[in-house]
């Protein structure tokens, strides 16, 4: 029996690692060097300072890791840092748009903004509100949704459950083409077809038709993706119980895909709620409250923002900012509502 307790031999599976404080030290070092550069000149601005700090950190970390840990770990650290950087770069514009809109929009975010229109409010007058535009946006988006969602879901069902051969491929191609359709073209189509050819007047309904055209391909594509995700095993299980095909689709396939379909519809709503061009062409816009979408010019929030922002006057520009904030809130509320519906749906199913 040996009394000497020899240390276990170092594991061959454990490589050399940089100490945990290395990234913090490297950030400190990069900040210091960038600070010196800022004083000396080359990094003499906030952007320059940030860029220099980031680049120095990336280079320093890669070199240190390469020397100590080896090539694979160095690449791992480099790519990880790049991915985080990309994430931050992506989020910056989103956050800054939100902050800017909230900051500038709060000036007129008051009760009269949501209770009065721009009737008898001249460009230079303070006061006034976007009630007429909010009503217009809600009505137009709802009507567009009422058109685009049923048609879109039926097209998606056709493509996934029934469509084979040339006709289905043609439909699919046209949906792709529609996805890329510039919104002004949709507006021009309704203008020339509904208003000029059929002789209908400017109305919120005409705007809703143009929005429906824009919404349709988004609903089709997202619903199609979701229906394709439903496993065939569920369809076969239903068929094997002697359930007809249509009932399988209505009672099994669509409920299974519903959360995804709702998300797709909300994407479509968010897309069209902010459209200006088609609405501008076919609803004409008005400063008065018009709750009837089927007759007479109607306004909408994007149109309101566009028109107010073009006026050379701070009170109008304030109104535009608040209009933009209202639009963001409208879309966010709709999104939240849809998420809640999906959440409770899933909770009911216990997932």
């Amino acid at each position: 029996m040996s009394t000497a307790t020899a240390l276990p031999p170092p594991s061959t599976l454990v490589g050399r690692k940089l100490p945990r404080w290395t990234p913090a030290a490297l950030v400190a070092g990069a900040l210091a060097i960038a600070g010196v550069l800022a004083v000396l000149g080359p990094a003499d601005s906030i952007e320059g300072f940030v860029l220099w700090t980031g680049s120095l950190f990336l280079i320093g970390q890669t070199v240190a890791s390469f020397a100590v840990e080896g090539g694979r770990h160095a690449r791992d650290r480099l790519v990880t840092s790049l991915i985080y950087t990309s994430f931050v770069i992506t989020v910056i514009p989103l956050v800054s748009v939100l902050i800017l809109t909230i900051k500038n929009g709060m000036a007129r975010f008051d009760s009269s903004f949501f209770s009065s229109s721009l009737r008898n409010i001249a460009a230079t007058n303070a006061g006034g509100g976007a009630y007429h535009a909010l009503v217009g946006t809600i009505e137009q988006v709802l009507i567009a949704t009422a058109f685009a969602v049923p048609v879109g879901i039926f097209v998606a069902i056709y493509l996934v459950e029934f469509g084979t051969g040339r006709f289905a491929r043609t439909v699919s191609t046209f949906v792709d083409v529609m996805t890329g359709l510039p919104s002004i073209v949709a507006g021009l189509f309704i203008l020339s077809f509904w208003i000029l050819a059929l002789g209908q007047g400017y109305s919120g309904f005409a705007g809703a038709l143009a929005l429906a055209i824009l919404m349709l391909p988004i609903v089709v594509r997202s619903t199609e993706e979701m229906l394709r995700l439903v496993p065939d095993a569920l369809r076969e299980a239903s068929y094997a119980l002697g359930v007809p095909r249509w009932k399988t689709i209505v009672r099994i396939v669509i409920p299974t895909a519903l959360p995804g379909i709702v998300t797709g519809v909300m994407l479509g709503v968010a897309r069209v709620a902010g459209e200006t061009a088609p609405v501008l062409l076919v609803t004409f816009g008005t400063n008065s409250i018009n709750t009837d979408p089927f007759s007479g010019p109607q306004s909408s929030l994007p149109l309101f923002v566009y028109q107010q922002a073009g006026l050379p006057n701070q009170v109008a520009i304030d109104r535009a900012w608040t209009g933009a904030l209202t639009l963001i809130l409208f879309v966010m509320l709709l999104n939240l509502a849809a998420r809640l519906v999906t959440y409770f749906w899933r909770a009911r199913m216990g997932r």
Binding site: E236, S238, Y239, L241, G242, P244, M349, G350
Partner: protein, 258 residues
């Protein structure tokens, strides 16, 4: 209520590819018939042809006749939906409907075919779950999602779902291949009980399982890649596993397959 199945020179196709050639066999009522054979030999395809699930795959079709007692299920004007109400099926992977609770899963066949009466549905659910040997395990969570059960329990929910519509025949496509031995034992016990009421056809890769649960066994094989599968031999299970007529059957069941 169990019915006999007569298969007469059945060939199954996927598009132009002939997957199974000229199968003729009969399935006795109120008994368990097993189909065994290597992967790709067409045994599952034949099984799916028995309740017209084969044609669900685009381009798939069959020739020949499948008689359910006297009626050809491939006869002119036969509604596949009606056939499937008579001949139920359990699949390889448990596939409970994810949007439904345990209870709703079991009565899905009835409810989707128009039965609305709550008391009847509850009755059928209990009877089917008891029939599937699952009632005691799930009676306290009937309203929880079916997907939350273990794999073996899910498969028994699927069996309960299949027998809830009171089919004449129950087809099982490798019902235990995704399950552990304990769950497999539960399913095999269940099959032993169900044979008193139903005509059961089971496809299995597991030869011990075939010898445990079935009275008659059919051995399928293919002569090579791209060749159609054929029924080599069909006989009592005891004969197939102890003294088969065909050399190929003997090679397969004794493990000398090659």
């Amino acid at each position: 209520m169990a019915k006999r199945i007569e298969i007469e020179s059945l060939s199954c196709f996927y598009g132009n590819f002939k997957a199974v050639e000229d199968v003729t066999l009969s399935v006795e009522p109120k008994s368990v018939t097993a189909f065994i054979g290597p992967s790709g030999c067409g045994k599952s395809t034949v099984l799916r042809a028995l309740n017209r699930m084969h044609e669900v795959t685009p381009g798939a079709h069959v020739t020949g006749r499948v008689l359910l007692d006297q009626d050809d299920i491939y006869g002119p004007g036969v509604d596949p939906v009606q056939v499937r109400r008579t001949i139920g099926m359990v699949f390889q992977r448990p596939n409970p409907f994810p949007t439904m609770s345990v209870l709703d899963n079991v009565v899905a066949g009835l409810r989707l075919n128009g039965m609305k009466k709550k008391s009847t549905l509850a009755e059928v659910a209990e009877r089917s779950l008891r029939g599937a040997g699952l009632w005691d395990e799930v009676k306290d969570r009937l309203h929880r999602p079916g997907a939350g059960l273990s794999g073996g329990q899910q498969q028994r929910v699927c069996i309960a779902r299949a027998i809830a519509v009171q089919p004449q025949v129950l087809l099982m496509d490798e019902p235990c291949s995704a399950l552990d031995p304990i769950s497999t034992l539960a399913i095999e016990d269940l099959i032993a009980q169900l044979r008193d009421q139903y005509t059961i056809v089971i496809v299995t890769h597991n030869m011990q399982q075939a010898s445990r649960v079935s009275e008659r066994t059919g051995f399928f094989n293919i002569s090579g890649v791209g060749q159609p599968g054929k029924l080599i031999e069909m006989d009592s299970t005891h004969k197939i596993f102890s003294n088969p007529t065909e050399k190929r059957t003997e090679d397969y069941v004794t493990g000398r397959f090659g």
